[in-house]
Symmetry: C2
Subunit: 246 residues, 2 copies
């Protein structure tokens, strides 16, 4: 079995022999629910490329301490993939976030598309973003990621168009696109942006805005994918053409 | 909006001008729940490569008839992909079936892996298989597939090993495999088998049995994917290297 992973705010400057305290909900869950005890071997991560492995020295009510045995760091994987996900219906959003995190997305941008049935407004926007972020965090722990994905605030179409400036490749999935996936040249470094539309499809205005921003409309295959499946399929396909899968 | 799709047992010999009756649950759902009425345009499919488009002529309690305007057929897509899916926990099985159907799997084989937490036994096996089949059918309608995937009965490891004989490529996903995905030569025709292990991983005996049967252990990337995500990611990656995505 792999060791349990716990998220801490920072591991900056931590070295072997140091003692790191884990506090808050993360510690409460580990101690009260998972019954973590002194002597257990655990992995700590800051979700920003650093991991520490060590033994639990002591546990308290909402705290435990770890004597670090080993520290390691990894740079972010390249190419980095940002997925712009149109808000899907119901709990399909969290499902998409979960799978995009597993497959290795560097950032997830919730997008208020014209034809998204779901709407995030006012307080709901902050709450929903927090829920996506929590889903990404838990999925990243499960997936044992070194770099946890960022979940951005809800973006408008104009903001999405702005976001792709500087990307080495930006695509929007569109079943009627003339360009097939295999015609893409996938960069092996730098950054890629994948835009996934809502259940109801993209509007002509959205397609025009993306086109003007240099986003290429591309079709995956003959299959009709749900929005929550399309992102993970596209990212898997993209990465399978890069050194990340070699 | 795309036209609603209804599944009928057969469209063999049906031509423009014919009247086709849709009966049973399929008709009941359409008439009672979806409120299908005479004059509506619908698509009928037999899930075996044939589609008929036409107008609803009449509706009854558990029946409706369609005057066919147009009939078309398509051969199965190549390469065909069979996914052997180790039984996952909870409702992750149906989720996997849904996504594998969307992405275009030709067949889904539930597999009783040693470390599968879920167990299908006796009556439960038939019921669970029927549930997977119903999930595949609904997903295939949503995904507008011409060929609906077959859901096989629960297979043992020996049966899975037997199944791959004759496949043009057979792979088992394994995070510790020496062979990276990009080293695969994906055939553009014929048949591919993808074996997806359970949450607890594959046993040495399973790996040995597959190896002897000519199944190649392959790793996708550095990411740790859940079993329900791994299949769709692998199939998307495979198809993106074939003419099906061109």
């Amino acid at each position: 079995m792999s060791l349990p992973v716990h998220l801490v705010p920072s591991l900056s400057g931590v070295a072997a022999g140091d003692v790191v305290e884990v506090t808050g909900d993360e510690a409460h869950h580990a101690v009260a629910v998972r019954r973590l005890r002194a002597g257990s071997r655990v992995v700590l991560t800051d979700g920003s490329g650093t991991r520490a492995e060590g033994l639990v020295a002591d546990t308290g009510k909402r705290v435990f301490s770890v004597t670090v045995a080993e520290v390691a760091t990894l740079p972010p994987a390249e190419p980095s993939v940002t997925v712009v996900q149109a808000l899907p219906k119901g709990d399909r959003g969290e499902l998409a976030v979960e799978m995009l995190t597993e497959i290795g997305a560097a950032a997830i941008v919730p997008w208020a598309a014209s034809r998204s049935v779901a709407v995030w407004r006012g307080e709901r926007a902050a709450k929903s973003q927090a829920k996506w972020a929590a889903t990404a965090r838990e999925a990243a722990k499960q997936a044992r990621r070194w770099w946890f994905p960022e979940v951005a605030p809800l973006a408008t179409t104009a903001e999405v168009a702005g976001l792709v400036a500087g990307a080495d490749l930006a695509v929007v999935l569109h079943e009627a696109a003339a360009l097939p996936f295999v015609a893409l040249e996938v960069p092996s470094t730098g950054s890629v942006v994948v835009v996934v539309g809502p259940e109801g499809g993209l509007t002509d205005d959205e397609l025009a805005a993306f086109d003007e921003a240099g986003v290429r409309a591309v079709r995956l295959g003959a299959e009709v994918l749900r929005t929550s499946t399309a992102g993970v399929a596209a990212v898997a396909a993209l990465l399978s053409h890069t050194p990340r899968w070699s």
